[in-house]
């Protein structure tokens, strides 16, 4: 089996073990950062290999597909692995400034790394049941991270997060079990043929809906998102940043994978539902955000509305739309994580995340203000930032299909996003601090300043680069979308040419 595929999953878990053993000393923090650097290198090697060779697959333990567990990397998977590694490293560095010795002693870094390992595993697996296992790995790690601060509100948020997510995983398990019973296979490439050949298409659609609900709950789409705004503003900022960037996107990724590879037999039913779900997700998310007055709560609701755009790309199911979904997914992870990290710095400087209790950041911390503008405007879709291209492609794809309503909603939600971002800007940055406080980056200890600002600057630079030179990234997303819509290469890589 191929090490290129296995290393991105193995490195985080080895790092987790190291970080756990060293959790009482400062070495644990450094192990986490070092492991993240190694993960990044492994992810770069993987994506280079995929760009070079196309879809690559490896069979664990040498058991041939469809009997063994397969690891597969196509353009989408490899890009998601790379972006997970980037976010992992950024947040690992940022954590150094926020996570104190108490949380570290409870195993923060170990949980953080096993979360990254679970996310990476979910992106690379080619087996539906294995995907379930990775979901559980990242879920149990996220449970631990959520409660590790031990604050009252975190326990409250965790109750809702844990219970609703457990229902989703049980549904996923039920769907996978029934699918196995009906087709006799769990290998995703093999399932494509098996589902299409099944005599009972009604049953297949039923199972598709079970998986749609399960993944939809993970991705926080309407009407299944209620756990997200209940919990994402409660843990450490580093935790909510990595959750905001990666966790819901695993759900979106699973939807993208399963509803382009396996369940394509009844597009008029499944994707029509996805279309309405995506529109309602965009609207409820952005309207929910408009009603909030807490920095992180606003950002949490915006995760939901942005998820809508990605699901919309999948629902339209044209090459351009799916390309838009892939591009949106990649750009959004960077932007959203960065916004949560900036919210963390703002809380540290001003003493609160309640927008009415803070202010004055523009005057005394202009660097932070400038860095907020980049991801905030990118989220709203201002040219020439990355979000503009993402929204442009999705809206263009819906106009190509003559879906005026869809395009209208997408543009309206973009406009309302600007409203929320302006609210944050006016309250946290523009107006003076109500207590006359003068929040400045110089208030932070020297080491914390570096640890917090370097990841934020790096992510902002990536947003600007994607926006300024979109053609390479759009081309990559186009290739990814082609592989999703015509999975012949994927199936051939997993099952071998003969079964094609």
């Amino acid at each position: 089996m191929s090490w290129v595929l296995a290393l991105p999953i193995m490195i985080p878990f080895v790092t987790a073990v190291l970080a756990f053993l060293l959790r009482r000393s400062r070495m644990g923090d450094l192990a986490s950062v070092g492991g993240s650097v190694a993960s990044l290198v492994a992810a770069v090697v993987l994506i280079a290999e995929v760009l070079d060779q196309g879809v690559i697959a490896g069979q664990i333990g040498g058991w041939q597909a469809p009997f063994g567990i397969t690891l597969v990397a196509d353009h989408l998977s490899a890009a998601m692995v790379l972006i997970t590694a980037i976010i992992g490293l950024s947040v690992a560095v940022w954590s150094l400034a926020e996570i104190g010795p108490t949380s570290a002693r409870f195993g923060y870094h170990a949980l953080f790394q096993s979360l990254l390992g679970g996310v990476t595993g979910a992106f690379l697996t080619g087996d539906l049941f294995n995907l379930y296992v990775w979901f559980e790995v990242l879920l149990i790690s996220s449970f631990g991270l959520l409660v590790i601060g031990g604050r009252k509100s975190a326990i409250d948020g965790a109750v809702k997060y844990v219970t609703l997510n457990l229902i989703a995983t049980v549904l996923f398990l039920a769907g996978a079990g029934l699918l196995y019973g009906a087709t006799g296979t769990l290998n995703m490439a093999d399932l494509r043929g098996a589902v299409a050949a099944s005599p009972d298409q009604g049953l297949m659609t039923l199972i598709a809906m079970m998986l749609m609900v399960a993944f939809g709950m993970k991705a926080a789409v309407f009407p299944l998102f209620f756990w997200l705004p209940a919990s994402y503003h409660t843990p450490h900022y580093a935790v909510s940043a990595v959750f905001a960037g990666l966790l819901t996107k695993v759900g979106v990724y699973a939807l993208l994978r399963v509803f382009t590879l396996i369940f394509v037999g009844d597009l008029g039913y499944t994707h029509e539902i996805l279309l309405w779900v995506s529109l309602l997700t965009m609207l409820t998310g952005v309207l929910g955000a408009a009603a909030q007055s807490d920095f992180r709560k606003i950002l949490s609701f915006h995760i939901i509305s942005q998820i809508g755009y990605m699901v919309l790309g999948l629902a339209l199911m044209t090459p351009l739309a799916v390309m838009g979904a892939v591009f949106y997914l990649l750009h959004h992870i960077i932007v959203k994580t960065n916004l949560f990290l900036i919210a963390g710095v703002s809380q540290r400087l001003t003493g609160s995340s309640d927008l009415y209790a803070i202010g004055g950041l523009y005057r005394t911390a202009p660097l932070l203000a400038a860095l907020f503008i980049i991801p905030a405007f990118s989220l709203a879709g201002f040219p020439p930032l990355s979000g503009f291209w993402a929204k442009f492609v999705i809206v263009r794809a819906s106009l190509d299909l003559g879906e005026w309503l869809v395009a209208g909603v997408a543009l309206l939600v973009g406009l309302l996003t600007i409203f929320s971002m302006t609210k944050i800007w006016a309250e946290a940055f523009w107006k003076a601090h109500p207590d006359g406080r003068q929040p400045a980056l110089a208030d932070l200890p020297r080491s914390a300043r570096w640890q917090m600002m370097v990841p934020i600057i790096a992510l902002a630079v990536m947003t600007v680069v994607i926006g300024a030179f979109p053609s390479a990234f759009l081309e990559f997303a186009t290739k990814g979308a082609e592989q999703l819509l015509d999975p012949a290469a994927y199936v051939a890589a997993v099952l071998g040419e003969a079964r094609r």
Binding site: F129, V133, S153, K160, V170, G177, L178, G181
Partner: protein, 120 residues
């Protein structure tokens, strides 16, 4: 036999939904436990029940004469049971912590993270 297991699974799931609709966190958890067991049974039934044909090779690797049970659903089940056990243990620990923190387990009254709108 499969019909019987399927009915039992359905009964467990129905009971679990009734329990999960309760506003009490403890009842919800019991519902969740029943739900995961109901689903486990469904997986077992979906893999077809073949009583009396254990998936074991004979001496010197000889294949058993008759049909052999499919071992994969059982492997999936074992994995699911172990994972479910771990998650349930965490959920129980969280419930205890929630009880100590709030002094009750009524989910509707847990509004610290999302305080109700103040009426003015």
């Amino acid at each position: 036999m499969e019909t019987l297991v399927a009915c039992l699974s359905g009964f467990l799931v129905a009971t679990s939904i009734w329990l999960m609709l309760s506003g009490n966190l403890m009842r919800f958890l019991f519902g969740l436990l029943l739900l995961s067991n109901g689903v486990n049974l469904a997986i077992l039934a979906a893999g077809r029940l073949t009583p009396g044909a254990p998936p074991l090779l004979g001496a010197k690797g000889a294949l058993p004469p008759d049909t052999m049970a499919n071992a994969l659903p059982q492997a999936l089940l074992l994995t699911a049971i172990v994972i479910g056990f771990g998650l349930f243990a965490f959920a129980l620990a969280l419930t205890i912590r929630a009880y100590r923190t709030f002094g009750h387990l009524e989910v509707d009254r847990m509004r610290i993270a999302e305080p109700a709108e103040e009426r003015e």
